[in-house]
Symmetry: C2
């Protein structure tokens, strides 16, 4: 379904972000990318890897993650070579993660390669459609663009940033017939604005997927963030040498924390250097339990969404709930509607689905009262 | 506060009834009387024992319970002598339980003694007021009455049967100045009827407390239930002999299952033989989690009622809930109002407080689907 491998393409998987709105499933020591949120048998990062290795090929996929997650990542993806996991002692946001991985890959394989960055914790339903979008994005990248994949907005979501498309690139980049220039990136809108975006058809969700030649990225970084470019180059030069640890320890922590959208994508879009390929492949970032619900099959006619062993759930007169059973206990619901119940061995969360976004506030509260044991 | 012991008084504690509306706290193997529902440090049967031994004295309190609960009862009340726990191989309802205990005590101490039956799973707040009511009831019993203690109705409850009082017995029984005759016992009313009862002031809740001479009870049993009287006599004759097990095995299972209210109290009230002493001592039978809530202190300003370690509960913007934390895990409530959350090691119950009565239906469903492991 996904066709030939793309020889000059390397995929980078930045694996960061705890996913605190998915507490108590996601924890500091088990961020959401390490979890099988769909009960599919694969964790999010495993699915991400399989999706990308099918396009880039063995040895063409690397993961950037926090030092403390390196062992778990290697355990979950044994196919990753020793030199394909880049450990960050502290998180420095996506610009640094993508730039360092790109700089290392460029030193290994030449800066003509195309790199693509895809978060470790996204869900994509239609692999063939995804592959088609990536191939077009690679074509746009070869033509010199930083190319993002804009997700077809299926509802007026206020949870995502948006990408506003410009003119078609079909004539100038024949291998990317669906590509457009990007006019601008816009922040998460309010509900009315999101509704207006949906109506125009010009706006896609920004899923943070970026595809570009290594050289393009490193040049643009040098243009917009010269200091960071120099720091990244210093680390990349040392990476595959005995000086890696020492250089990383002295240089990395001082790097500016800034998202790729702000450092590169936005200023470059203003210059007309960003392209977008629309993606209609069924995407979600599982931001909270409500969005998880949309991805889970219904447990019964009452539309209860269940993640876990169905034998652990007994319900009477309950509907529309999102239930996660991870502790092996029986969950008995009597007249419970549209609630989230997440049962883990050491913590239980109960909340209305409508307040799913606020789970983050619960995590903040637990932090505040010193409950690091369950964070 | 409770004064002298009452020399001729013996207290019987029938300890039966699982309390299925309090699942998953109450289980078949841990009925509610074995549980510390108020977090007071005493289980319900321990509190009941202490309340009664203060009036009847050591050696004057006996417990009738199911065979499988005998060990737990002895463990919880080590002060009970070997011959003070009457084991029932199968439950035969309250008439048989009270009558057998009475018949055994009458053979040991003479049938002039006064016996009083008090359920093992009731909560009584004011021991002094309770003692005063029992003393008056004993006086009425000595005067030949079967005397019940009628609970002052504090709200139009539809969960209890009612006792309709008749004329004052103050002049005929000077030691029971607050006693009345009982005109009738009435079943659990609907809400409108309960409201009407409350307004008249003539109706008290029937808590199933009965005080009477042993002789009175045995005579009335012979009058209303002659076959049962004969069966009970046969067992009681054999009880303190080597023939107990054999006689119990052959006679007990055949005894009619009928509540004391129906077999004795109602027909005798119609004859004018029942008295009632009003009891205003703060009583509850903890029928369900909603009534449990009324007995628990508030955890916080949001009126969350908590049974268990407060460190296990973290809430944000939640109010009016009833939380039982027995599993040692953290329960995180976000925007959860007026719900029941009962957390035990192998089962979790979530339900709105308004549906507390229906927890029984959940237990029935669990039975139906063969989940005896958690019943």
């Amino acid at each position: 379904m996904t066709g030939e491998k793309i020889d000059d393409f390397y995929a980078i998987i930045p694996a960061g972000g705890v996913g605190s709105r998915l507490w108590p499933i996601s924890r500091k020591n088990r961020p959401k990318f390490l979890y099988d949120f769909l009960g599919s048998g694969s964790t999010l990062i495993q699915s991400t890897y399989l999706r990308l290795v099918a396009l880039a090929g063995e040895g063409h996929v690397v993961v950037s993650t926090g030092e403390k997650h390196v062992d778990a990542v290697r355990e979950q993806i044994p196919a990753l070579a020793d030199d394909a996991v880049f450990a960050e002692p502290v998180g420095r946001d996506s610009t640094a993660a993508i730039a360092l991985a790109t700089a290392i890959l460029a030193r290994r394989h030449g800066d003509d390669i195309v790199v693509g960055s895809f978060a470790a914790d996204h869900v994509i339903r239609d692999q063939a459609a995804f592959a088609k979008s990536v191939r077009e994005a690679v074509a746009a990248a070869r033509a010199g663009y930083v190319c993002t994949i804009g997700i077809a907005a299926s509802r007026p979501s206020t949870a995502f940033g948006y990408i506003r498309k410009g003119d078609s690139l079909a004539s100038s980049v024949p291998d990317a017939p669906d590509a457009f220039t990007v006019r601008e990136f816009v922040e998460k809108p309010d509900a009315a604005t999101a509704q207006a975006y949906l109506i125009t058809g010009d706006y896609h969700w920004n899923a943070g997927m970026f595809v570009m030649r290594a050289r393009t990225l490193l040049d643009r970084l040098a243009q917009y963030k010269p200091q960071m470019a120099q720091q990244i180059a210093q680390i990349a030069d040392a990476w595959d040498t005995p000086r890696r640890a020492e250089t990383m320890a002295s240089v990395w922590p001082a790097i500016e924390k800034i998202a790729f959208d702000y450092s590169i994508a936005e200023p470059l879009a203003a210059e007309g250097g960003v392209a977008m390929v629309p993606g209609g492949f069924g995407w979600d970032d599982i931001g909270d339990f409500n969005s998880l619900a949309a991805l889970l099959p219904s447990h019964n006619a009452q539309n209860i969404k269940l993640l876990g062993d169905p034998d652990n759930l007994v319900q009477l007169d309950s509907a529309g709930d999102v239930i996660v059973t991870e502790a092996g206990r029986t969950i008995a619901l009597l007249g419970v509607n549209d609630m989230v119940v997440v049962d883990t061995p050491d913590a239980l969360l109960v909340a209305p689905r409508a307040r799913s976004q606020e789970v983050k506030a619960m995590v903040a509260k637990l932090q505040e009262i010193g409950r690091d044991d369950i964070l």
